[in-house]
Subunit: 81 residues, 2 copies
Amino acid sequence: MKARVHVSYKTGVLDPQGKAIGMTLANLGFAGVGDVRQGKLIELELAESDAHKARKLVEAMCEKLLANTVIENYAIELDNE
Amino acid sequence: MKARVHVSYKTGVLDPQGKAIGMTLANLGFAGVGDVRQGKLIELELAESDAHKARKLVEAMCEKLLANTVIENYAIELDNE
């Protein structure tokens, strides 16, 4: 089963990379661009085929490694759910 | 309108960060994890309200700045499409 984890900064946490992208877009002449945020998207290939167990597994991975839960949120998407 | 751009390495391009995540997950005791790929997810707030025009605009941003199209693919998602 394929899992996709989207890790993004929590609201209120400064996102310098997003700010840099927003400023560069403005400098390149793209108008009408407001807030820009950059997050990570991690795609995992899992041997687990049970959707419930797979979600629990990926949640544990997020808490332990994939996300810094002090400043980041994560969202999990599974292919066969 | 909100746009989400998912930038990921093309198939066959080495993804060292993904490999590092996969190895660390194995070291932490997570079994049954196959290939891991890490991409970027960029969220943009756009003043443009026409979905067709917004997509064209974001495509231009991707080609110019957001993605390195030699080694990266991008996918665009718009909120009101």
